[in-house]
Symmetry: C2
Subunit: 206 residues, 2 copies
């Protein structure tokens, strides 16, 4: 199965700007991508993994560069590739082999893993006419798009796939639930979990 | 199996204060509790469900009142009840029968469903010495507490169990991913999903 991993090689994770500078965000994004690639490679599935990058990137995987926005770049592959095609975002450092295997094994034409905040963090398209639109509340839109082409839809209930690292509050989740490259990078950069009265946060020392 | 559903019948969901007044928060909390009870009753499991409330509550279920904080109230039941005992929080309106069945069927002495922000949204205790401590980053603490009594631990990877409704940003998740009582209450109160440039939010009209 073909698996695309879209990756912003230029200005990744801009909403982490309050806690990480541009160079740090690029390094952290690379670590998160490495975690996703590791999880995919540790599945029992026969996968053809391709990083779909916005610019040339030094990544330990096949890289194809497309400088268009995410939606047309993914749809170009969907239109040119025999299904099934999976799309797994690069900012999912909690991803495990078990979580993506659940995505890949669901018996439906379109399988969606919703992200926190209404996005679509991973999907599997087995229907040749399904196309993506990542703008807005894409989880809802992808359900409608699948129905519009007569495709059956299923959703994977996974916290690990739901947690895309988007803003600083997400960093604590990485520290708590992962021992991968991204978590190691954060620890090395001085971050640790801080318990408050509400949800935990990640605090940086020094 | 005994299932406890702790419920704050007095001042629930105080962090929703910016968008709901005290009376609304109580009504919304009741709707979320109803969704959790419905999901539990629709499982294929033989469950003895008990709402563990901080004060007398008009709830369609067996209610036991304990005005102590959450941790001693739950531990009193764990100490007096033959295991297994499950504890499922009342503010999980995305809960489905399938999600709790995954919790109940995991083969370990202690099964944990982490919440967003480091909490423990649901757990199953099959070990007679395991006790809870909901203060702080309880997911981490519960893993350590289980290990300390020689209990095996497993984690359920569920977005639906991870999403406890804690602050206003969570309301959009309820609207997007549920058709239960809590989602209906929000729609009736004028809330709808709003797509912005980042994660969606719930906006209130009128």
């Amino acid at each position: 199965m073909r698996v695309l991993v879209p990756f912003d090689a230029q200005e990744p994770n801009t909403r982490l700007d309050p806690v990480l500078d541009a160079e740090e965000r690029r390094a952290f994004a690379g670590a998160m991508l490495a975690d996703v690639l590791t999880a995919l490679r540790e599945t029992d599935c026969d996968l053809d993994i391709q990083v779909l990058a916005t610019a040339p990137a030094d990544v330990d995987a096949d890289v194809s560069v497309d400088d268009r926005p995410l939606t047309p770049a993914v749809n170009a592959v969907l239109g040119a590739t025999e299904t099934p095609v999976a799309v797994v975002m690069a900012d999912l450092p909690l991803t495990t082999p078990a979580a993506v295997e659940r995505l890949f094994s669901h018996p439906a034409d379109v399988v969606l893993a919703p992200g926190l905040g209404g996005g679509t963090n991973a999907l599997l398209a087995r229907h040749p006419e399904f196309r993506v639109d990542y703008h807005g509340v894409s989880y809802r839109d992808h359900r409608e798009a699948a129905a519009a082409v007569g495709a059956t839809v299923r959703t994977v209930d996974s916290f690990r796939l739901a947690l895309d690292v988007d803003d600083p509050t997400d960093l604590a989740e990485v520290l708590l639930h992962s021992n991968g490259d991204a978590a190691a990078w954060l620890r090395e950069a001085g971050f640790s979990v801080s318990a408050g009265s509400g949800r935990m946060t990640a605090e940086r020392s020094g």
